[in-house]
């Protein structure tokens, strides 16, 4: 087995805080360019899992590997998009300067930044809003800004923690399609946490369901739906409907 092939590999990962077991025996492999969705009820440890892959948390036992190398601390090759964009963006920096942040951290010369920043802002549809502060943008626009900032890192792995959980249904669908378009351009590996079964099926190549108390992998299914996906035809696809029913039944069984 060539472990280095995997973008993300979790080996028997467990985490406990004191006597409180959060996650136990998680085994998971994500190939480069794969879009994996992790679903589970709140408290199933899905966000915790994402934080371990990001290097913000260290497992109590087991190993987290990125491209075959153990994760010890956050890496620039991994970008995170949080659900709470209001807290994750820097309120004192305009949209432009927020996108500039990872470029400054990465040491990109100041002369090269403007073109890159404008390109990214245009890509997420914020080309006309570069001078606005996050507080002056709508929720959907703030989340676009956070996505642009994450892409500025040029990550090969993108971790998204319920990124659209706080947005209205229309905005959510638009952003789902934009994320699909953006990551397919760069063949980015995506680890996408959500509690929405339909969202997971619509976006993912694979869906992993977590069982709670303690969190563990309950089910891991491939989603063989054609790409590019479409909000109407994909969601009406017989396979989509079949998988949706299957996932609902699984989740009901888990939480029964």
């Amino acid at each position: 087995m060539t472990a280095a092939r995997n973008a993300i590999e979790l080996k028997e990962v467990s985490l406990s805080f004191g006597s409180n077991q959060i996650l136990t025996g998680i085994d998971m492999r994500v190939e480069p360019g794969e879009f994996i969705c992790v679903i589970g009820a709140s408290g199933s440890g899905k966000t915790t899992l994402l934080r371990m892959i990001a290097g913000l948390l260290t497992p109590t036992s087991g190993a987290v590997l990125l491209h075959g190398k153990p994760v010890r601390s956050p890496s620039r090759r991994v970008a995170v998009v949080f659900q709470d964009y209001g807290r994750a963006l820097l309120p004192w920096r305009r949209a432009y300067a927020n996108v500039s942040l990872p470029l400054e951290a990465g040491g990109m010369p100041a002369s090269q930044r403007p073109a890159r920043i404008r390109e990214l802002l245009a890509k997420v549809g914020l080309g006309n809003h570069e001078d606005k502060f996050p507080g002056q943008l709508s929720g959907g626009m703030q989340q676009r800004l956070q996505i642009a900032r994450a892409l500025a890192q040029e990550p090969d792995t993108l971790l998204m923690d319920e990124p659209f959980g706080a947005l209205d249904a229309m905005t959510r669908q638009t952003l789902q399609d934009e994320v699909l378009r953006l990551v397919s351009e760069r063949k980015t590996t995506v680890f996408f946490v959500t509690h929405d079964i339909e969202e997971a099926l619509y976006l993912g190549d694979r869906v992993v369901a977590l069982d709670s108390n303690p969190g563990r992998v309950a089910y891991d299914i491939k989603v063989p739906l054609p790409r590019p996906r479409d909000q109407l035809t994909t969601r009406e696809h017989p396979e989509f409907l079949r998988l949706r029913r299957e996932m609902f039944e699984i989740m009901n069984k888990i939480h029964a």
């Binding site: 913000l56 949080f82 820097l90 942040l101 951290a105 990465g106 507080g135 002056q136």
Partner: protein, 259 residues
């Protein structure tokens, strides 16, 4: 603001009535007082001091000392606040020293400052810097604790080193609270500077107050007092304007919270 003051004309009613009553009272009871003077006399004395330049000179001396002391206290207090806020061992080491030194009233240092520096600006701003050091230390420490952990995570994820993290994330995140420390300390700096001048240092507005008292000039003394009130109010007013300008955009749909 002036429009707001004009609208709240009721607020002016009472002070104007008091002034008029005082003027009338003095007109019918022409006494010679060591402590009081009719408002018209205060105004005349104040204007005289303004035109002969003595008021502005004294104001300059007091403000320069207060500002220099404030600047030293701000830089040192903020730096120390960052040290104890970021380094666990520094926090533990400093805890006792802070608890022991902080309760020393700043004006109690006047004799020491006088012995060390003699009369002049240095002794005055050293006492002011001591007084303003503490609010900056405490509030910086406090501000750092209140920075959203999410922002610290973001800076770790981006790969900022410790210095850049302080400069690009922590300092701006703490800025609104640091500004509160500044506003508190500006008032304090003025109080301490004038106190030092009254107690020991022969310059500035404090000296003016003392001289007018010694020369039995209540009109001039009260003019100094009123001038100090105006000065304190004006400084605070402009700081508030500045604060709103700096931080209004941080609140959702900012920029609309004009004074």
């Amino acid at each position: 603001m002036t429009a707001a003051l004009a609208r709240s004309w009721r607020g002016w009613l009472f002070p104007v009535a008091v002034l008029a009553a005082a003027e009338l009272w003095f007109a019918f009871n022409p006494i010679l007082s060591d402590t009081l003077a009719p408002p018209s006399k205060i105004a005349r004395d104040g204007l005289a001091m303004l035109f002969d330049g003595s008021l502005l000179k004294a104001t300059g001396q007091t403000l320069v000392s207060a500002a220099a002391g404030l600047l030293i206290g701000m830089v040192a207090g903020t730096a120390a606040g960052f040290a104890i806020g970021l380094i666990r061992t520094a926090e533990r080491t400093a805890a006792w020293v802070v608890e022991l030194l902080r309760p020393i009233p700043s004006v109690a240092l006047i004799p020491l400052a006088l012995l060390t520096f003699g009369y002049g600006y240095r002794m005055e701003y050293s006492v002011v810097s001591w007084a303003t050091f503490w609010p900056f230390l405490i509030l910086t420490h406090n501000a750092l604790r209140q920075i959203d952990v999410r922002l610290i995570e973001v800076s770790r994820l981006m790969g900022f080193g410790p210095l850049k993290r302080i400069w690009k994330i922590m300092l701006p995140a703490a800025a609104p609270r640091l500004f509160t420390a500044l506003r508190l300390s500006v008032g304090l700096a003025l109080v301490v500077a004038v106190t030092v001048e009254i107690a020991a240092n022969p310059q500035g507005l404090g000296l003016g107050l003392m001289r007018s008292q010694e020369e039995l000039q209540p009109g001039r003394m009260l003019a100094y007092l009123i001038w100090l009130g105006v000065l304190g109010w004006a400084i605070n007013y402009f700081l508030l304007l500045f604060e709103i300008r700096l931080f209004a955009h941080r609140t959702p749909h900012g920029g609309s919270t004009a004074p």
